[in-house]
Amino acid sequence: MAANTLPYGRKTQRPPAVKEVHVLWITAGLSCDGDSVSITAATQPSIEDVLLGAIPGLPKVHLHNPVLAYEVGDDFMKAWYEADAGRLDPFVLVVEGSIPNEKVKNEGYWAALGTDPASGQPVTTCEWINRLAPKALAVVGAGTCATYGGIHAMQGNPTGCMGLNDFLGWDWKSKAGLPIVNVPGCPVQPDNFMETLLYLLYQVAGLAPMIPLDDRGRPKWLFGATVHEGCDRGGYYEQGQFTKEYGQPECLVRLGCWGPVVNCNVTKRGWMAGIGGCPNVGGICIGCTMPGFPDKFMPFMDEPPGAKISSDTATVYGTAIRALRHFTNDTANKETKWRHKGTKLTTGYQPAHIS
């Protein structure tokens, strides 16, 4: 092949509609940075897959995330100011952490990032969101704090914090017409986030239609089913087998598992590489992906009030079913009777011509 001959198959490759995109990731909500840490665990795709261009058709991605950034201080903040000035376009704004209410006090700040050169005071996270959200191609909430408020928005909290939709409005749309994309989870399941980001990059590249979201802003393909629907302990539920002790293989509903009513795919996907998760591996579901988390699920270690009727019913039905299955299972566990030694063939084989 001559050096200057283009490979025939190259015609399959198309340049993305947008060549480069920046991801501005603000962790300065009321967060624990657990969502940033979480995405470093992702492999489907991994962060390096996206940054090094391992997936065809995507724009070049520049990530500005404080946990991973090479730059420090003002060098790091430069991208934020550039984006604010409209010189960093297009960009996706990722928010991690709940948004505090800075109006419930007289002065100071609950959460901030960087310093205002004029006043010498910190620039609040709220102000950054107000400045950047209108200029962003899309705004993504990473984790339950940013999406719905989460643990820091618990009853009795001093900061009055909330989720992105509470802050920007449930009708809010980006300049590209996207509603806020919410990827809840405490922390966010690694691949759930990276896959959502990947989808958005496909969309930006002109390779995918509008991201399908439900009425709480969640990607439908990730949060459409309940924990229970994917749970590998679901069979025990059906058979009315509920453990009252941790460390046992049966269904955890009586211990406080909220799986039957929680939208989350962790039981299907596992936590990482298919390993771990919650009910599958012996942890009660505490509803950490839900808008009502945490208060509506506390105290976590009691049976959910609404679960009693269904688990009682399942106990009655399941006990009968289990007895019948036990019977059939016994049969299934026995080999057929024609597998034996000796001179006689009892398989039922009857050749047409006996010699």
Binding site: L30, G73, D74
Partner: protein
């Protein structure tokens, strides 16, 4: 640019020209940290440093009135990289409060999970976050002379790790493009899989409970863990000598580098991994079971081991204000007058703390951070002890205490030996960590890599113990309990980056007071009521400047290495004004230490 800068050893002139520089946020850490400094470029040293945190969430406030059984789920969310350390510490405190002792198998499962956390977290921090400060790109931008030398310097342990020159190691650490950077990132996933096997999910576990764990101990569980562990063991056989070569090179290339991040030896370790044969979670026996931990608790002052008794450690804790945005609690309620042994408990002890936030303008010299100032009371002084980023204090205390002896790990009184058996492609190796001369940036970083080996060696021991239980048919992982109406309790653990305590007061079956003290308040604390600077501040102040860049191109790399050596983990920030830095004082000054 071959001229290396000189360490700031010249006598200090009172006529100093100080330039304000700040870095906010400090990246490649967890959380929001700002470092504000005044730098004396003529004398090439940092004159003043303030550490500030820009986030407040209020755990101690919103936990009041909640069910004490929820504490581990809630407090896990304090930290996004070591949340499980909080969850574990919270269950320790719950066990004490509820009077429950988990089955042995549960304890081994927790220990295996926590070992995986150390293996993961130290690994990702060392080679994907702090490692970038030592990568080719960074060294080229800050000390081209050093990179030049690194290109000419052979690695003494090339045979063990495969990199011929020091500059090859630096290149391999370049973010995302460096091969070792990417390998470390991948290894941080393998170790998190090990973690998820034991504790369900990372970083907020799903299977930890008071009384034990929900993890089902099966043969498959331990197989899946062990095969991954052995890959990590093999990895560490390369990584320890690799870091030794890299760090030793800095001492050699930049004479005086031991002064970077150096402070007085004031180290605290609260102990890690309980021994289920000894630990009954009673306060009364806390000294005994604390001393049976697989990392010995201890406080080291000026190189001397002051105590290994968790009761002493507990009673000495003081939470001071001074520069933080909170009201004092001088008039607040005393929740605990005496500990369960009858010892008096101070008003400023976490059991008696009342948290009242007072948001206000940031004023350096007055109130400038959301972090309080934990101190440890010793011989009439409130000592600003640090954790050495975790590993330095753990290894130091364990080495001096001369207690841990599990075959895989042996404390000698002056060192710690770690044994890693044969793996697929490497023969057995025994590493020995010796107590260093200094508590400084390089030794904090070096200790981290040795502690990764320590955690792997400990995990081998725990896996053997767990499998022995399994083979004996002891698969119970949880014991039932009742939540008492009234109780006080505490939990002590080592978060990845150092000391961690949870203090609880239960009244009417609900949480009446809850104060977690993770490592970061100890390390990132501001000046306290006595004016004593916190450890970051103290370590950065008087750090000499070795960077070759002039003020207008200054990156502050030596300061970054000093701060990051502590493995900062705050939702906090460090600001830097470069070039247009504000000059505080301009007086006649001799031009010392010409910049290269």
């Amino acid at each position: 640019m071959a001229t290396l800068t000189q360490p700031g050893v010249e006598s200090r002139s009172p006529d100093r020209r100080l330039v304000e520089m700040s870095w906010d946020p400090i990246t490649r850490i967890v959380g929001s940290l700002g470092i504000y400094t005044k730098i004396d470029f003529a004398n090439r040293e940092v004159a003043e440093c303030y550490s500030t945190s820009s986030i407040f969430r209020g755990y101690s406030i919103f936990m009041k009135g909640k069910d004490p059984r929820d504490a581990h789920f809630i407090t896990s969310r304090i930290c996004g990289i070591c949340g499980d350390n909080h969850a574990t510490c919270a269950t320790y405190a719950q066990n004490m409060a509820f009077g429950v002792r988990p089955p042995d198998m549960a304890e081994w499962i927790v220990n295996l999970g926590e070992a995986a956390e150390y293996m993961f977290d130290h690994n990702i921090f060392q080679d994907n976050l702090v490692g970038v400060d030592f990568c080719e790109q960074m060294v080229k931008e800050t000390n081209p002379g050093v990179l030049d030398k690194a290109g000419r310097t052979d690695c003494p342990h090339a045979e063990q790790h495969g990199f011929r020159k020091i500059a090859d190691i630096m290149r391999a650490l370049n973010p995302f493009t460096g091969e070792f950077y990417r390998e470390a990132l991948q290894m941080s996933r393998l170790t998190r899989e090990m973690f998820c096997l034991m504790e369900g999910r990372h970083v907020h576990p799903s299977t930890l409970y008071p009384g034990g764990v929900g993890t089902v101990p099966t043969i498959q569980l331990f197989t899946d863990y062990l095969v991954r562990l052995m890959k990590y063991v093999e990895f560490m056989k390369r990584v320890v000598p690799l870091h030794d070569d890299l760090f030793d090179f800095f001492y050699q290339a930049l004479p005086g580098y031991e002064k970077v991040g150096q402070r007085r030896v004031l180290l605290g370790c609260w102990g890690s991994w309980n021994d289920p044969k000894v630990c009954d979670y009673t306060y009364k026996n806390m000294d005994e079971w604390g001393n049976a931990m697989f990392v010995t608790p201890g406080i080291v002052v000026d190189g001397k081991l002051v105590t290994t008794n968790l009761v002493d450690i507990n009673l000495g804790i003081r939470i001071l204000l001074g520069s933080s945005y909170y009201d004092d609690w001088e008039q607040g309620e005393i929740f605990v007058k005496q500990d369960p042994l009858g010892n008096p408990v101070d008003r400023h002890h976490p059991w008696n703390q009342t948290t009242t936030p007072r948001p206000q303008k940031r004023k350096f010299g007055d109130k400038y951070t959301w972090v309080m100032s934990p101190r440890w009371r010793h011989e009439g002084q409130d000592l600003a002890i640090d954790t050495g980023g975790g590993p330095l204090a753990r290894l130091w205390a364990t080495a001096l205490a001369n207690k841990v002896d599990i075959g895989y790990i042996k404390s000698t009184g002056h060192s710690v030996k770690m044994y890693l058996p044969k793996t697929a492609n490497k023969p057995e190796v025994e590493f020995e960590w010796n107590i260093p001369q200094w508590s400084n940036a390089i030794e904090r970083d070096r200790a981290r890599t040795y502690f990764q080996a320590y955690a792997a060696a400990a995990a081998l021991h725990f896996a053997e113990k767990a499998m022995a239980e399994l083979h004996a048919g002891h698969t119970k992982t949880w014991n039932d309990f009742k939540v008492p109406d009234e109780a006080i309790s505490c939990g002590f653990h080592e978060a990845v980056r150092g000391v961690l305590s949870h203090h609880v007061v239960i009244r009417k079956g609900k949480i009446a007071n809850y104060h977690p003290y993770p490592p970061t308040p100890w390390n990132a604390s501001p000046r306290d009521i006595h004016g004593t600077a916190g450890p970051y501040e103290d370590a950065v102040q008087n750090t000499p400047i070795f960077e070759e860049n002039p003020p207008d191109k200054f990156r502050g790399i030596d300061i970054m290495r000093a701060v990051r050596s502590f493995d900062p983990c705050l939702p906090c920030g460090v600001h830097m004004y470069l070039g247009n830095g504000k000059t505080l004082e301009t007086r006649h000054m001799p031009m010392f230490g010409a910049q290269g």
